[in-house]
C-alpha cells in the first residue's frame, strides 16, 4: 500500500511539474564578449525549427517577399516577442548567485534557409563572477537547443574558452 501511495504521489508530481512538452524547437546561438570581468556584449540568436518557421513566416511575412520590413518587424516584436517577458525570454542569468533581469534590445526578425530567426542583445554589464546562463522554457512548450559549438566566446584566454563554455552554459 505504501508503495502504491508513493508511486501515485510521484505521478502527481510529474503531472504538475511538466504538464506540457516541446512542440517548437529553438536553436540558441549566443555570442558573448567579456571585458574587465564583465559581459561587454551578449548577442543572442534564436533559430526556430522548420515547421514552426513555415507556419509563422506564412502569417508574418505579409508581402511574402522572404524578408521582414520595418513594420513587420515591429509587429513581430509587439505581438510575438515582447510577450515572452513572462517567460523571461526563456533565459536565466545568475551572476554571483543573483538573478539578473533580462532586458533585450535591438530585436530583429529575419528569414534564412526557410527558417525564422530572432536576434537581440542583452546590453547590461553583468559581472562574470560565478556566471551561469541557462536557456530554458520552464513550461517545456518550447525546446531550447544549445550545443557547445553554438557558443561564441571572446575576450578571455583562448585556452580557457572551452572550460568557460561548460562552466557558464552547463554544456558538455
Amino acid at each position: 500500500m505504501k508503495n502504491l501511495v508513493k508511486k501515485i504521489i510521484l505521478l502527481i508530481l510529474i503531472f504538475i511539474y511538466g504538464h506540457s512538452h516541446p512542440h517548437t524547437f529553438i536553436e540558441v546561438k549566443p555570442t558573448i564578449e567579456i571585458k574587465n570581468e564583465k559581459i561587454n556584449k551578449l548577442h543572442v540568436k534564436w533559430i526556430l525549427d522548420e515547421m514552426t518557421s513555415m507556419m509563422l513566416i506564412t502569417e508574418l511575412d505579409e508581402d511574402a517577399n522572404g524578408k521582414f520590413n520595418k513594420s513587420e518587424n515591429t509587429y513581430i516584436y509587439k505581438n510575438y516577442f515582447s510577450s515572452l517577458e513572462n517567460q523571461n525570454f526563456y533565459m536565466k542569468i545568475l551572476s554571483n548567485k543573483n538573478n539578473v533581469s533580462i532586458n533585450p534590445k535591438n530585436f530583429k526578425a529575419s528569414i534564412k534557409n526557410d527558417k525564422l530567426i530572432y536576434s537581440f542583445d542583452i546590453e547590461q554589464k553583468i559581472n562574470t563572477k560565478n556566471l551561469k546562463i541557462e536557456f530554458k522554457d520552464k513550461d517545456l512548450f518550447v525546446g531550447m537547443m544549445l550545443e557547445k559549438d553554438y557558443i561564441k566566446l571572446s575576450g578571455v584566454d583562448k585556452s580557457k574558452i572551452e572550460e568557460l563554455k561548460t562552466k557558464i552554459f552547463g554544456v558538455n
Partner: protein, 247 residues
C-alpha cells in the same frame, strides 16, 4: 540536473532531431522518391509519436491513476491507450483543417485560442469522470452492473484526455497542408498517433501490474481503491482547469 530533468532533456534532444528529419524529408519529396520518402516519413512519425508521448502530458497520468485503482486486463490498457490516441488524432486533424481552411489565416493565434478552449473542456470532463467514478464505485460496490459502468467511465476518460489535440500532430499536419501534401499529412497524423497510443498503453500496463501487487491488500474492498482513483482524477481535472483558466 536531476534524473528526471536528464530524462526529459534526452527526450527533447531526440524529438528535435526527429522533428528536423521529418521536415527536411517532407520538403524533399518529389515524383521520383515519392513512395520511399513518404513511407520513411510515416515510419519516423510513428517513432516521433512513441517518444513524444513519453514526455509529460497526453493523459498518461489519468491512465496511470485509472489502472492503478481499477481491476482491468492488459488488453483493456491497450484499448484505452489507443482510444485516447485515436481521439487525439481526430481532434488534431479536425482542428488543423478547420482553422486552416475555414478561418484561413492567423493560424497561430487561432490555434492558441482553440487549444485553450479544448483544454478547459477536457479539464471539466476529467472532473466529471472523477466524480462519476467515485459515485459509481460507491453505489455499485455490491452489484452486478459494474462492468457496464466501468466501460462508461473508460470511454469518458478516453474522450476527456484525447479531446485536447496534440500540437505536435497539428504542426506536422499543417506543414503538410502548406506543402499541399494533404494525404501524407493525414497519414502522418495517424501513424504518429499509433506511436503515442503504444506509449500510453504501456503506462496502463505498468499501472495494472502495480495494481495487481496491491490487490491482496484490498481483496473484497476494491471499491475503496476505485474511489481513491476517482478522487485523484478529480484532483487532476481541477489542477488542469486552474492552469488553463487562471495562468
Amino acid at each position: 540536473m536531476n534524473l528526471y530533468e536528464q530524462f526529459i532533456n534526452t527526450l527533447v534532444q531526440y524529438q528535435f532531431k526527429i522533428n528536423s528529419y521529418i521536415s527536411s524529408t517532407i520538403k524533399n519529396i518529389n515524383d521520383e522518391n515519392m513512395l520511399t520518402s513518404s513511407l520513411l516519413v510515416l515510419g519516423i512519425a510513428f517513432l516521433y509519436g512513441l517518444i513524444h508521448a513519453a514526455g509529460p502530458g497526453h493523459g498518461k497520468a489519468l491512465v496511470a491513476f485509472y489502472f492503478s485503482t481499477n481491476k482491468n486486463s492488459y488488453s483493456q490498457a491497450f484499448s484505452l491507450g489507443y482510444l485516447i490516441s485515436v481521439i487525439h488524432a481526430i481532434s488534431a486533424l479536425v482542428l488543423t483543417f478547420g482553422i486552416f481552411f475555414i478561418l484561413e489565416k492567423m493560424f497561430r493565434q487561432n490555434f492558441n485560442y482553440y487549444s485553450n478552449i479544448t483544454m478547459q473542456i477536457s479539464a471539466l470532463m476529467i472532473i466529471f469522470v472523477g466524480v462519476y467514478i467515485m459515485l459509481s464505485s460507491y453505489f455499485s460496490r455490491k452489484q452486478k452492473e459494474k462492468g457496464i459502468e466501468k466501460n462508461r467511465s473508460k470511454y469518458g476518460l478516453a474522450f476527456s484526455a484525447g479531446v485536447v489535440p496534440c500540437p505536435g500532430v497539428m504542426t506536422i499536419v499543417l506543414f503538410c497542408i502548406m506543402l499541399k501534401k494533404y494525404l501524407l499529412g493525414v497519414l502522418a497524423a495517424i501513424t504518429m498517433s499509433i506511436g503515442m497510443g503504444l506509449t500510453i498503453s504501456l503506462v496502463g500496463i505498468l499501472s495494472i501490474t502495480l495494481n495487481k501487487k496491491t490487490n491482496n491488500f484490498f481483496q473484497n474492498k476494491s471499491f475503496i481503491l476505485e474511489i481513491f482513483g476517482g478522487v485523484l482524477i478529480l484532483g487532476l481535472g481541477i489542477i488542469l482547469l486552474y492552469i488553463n483558466t487562471f495562468s
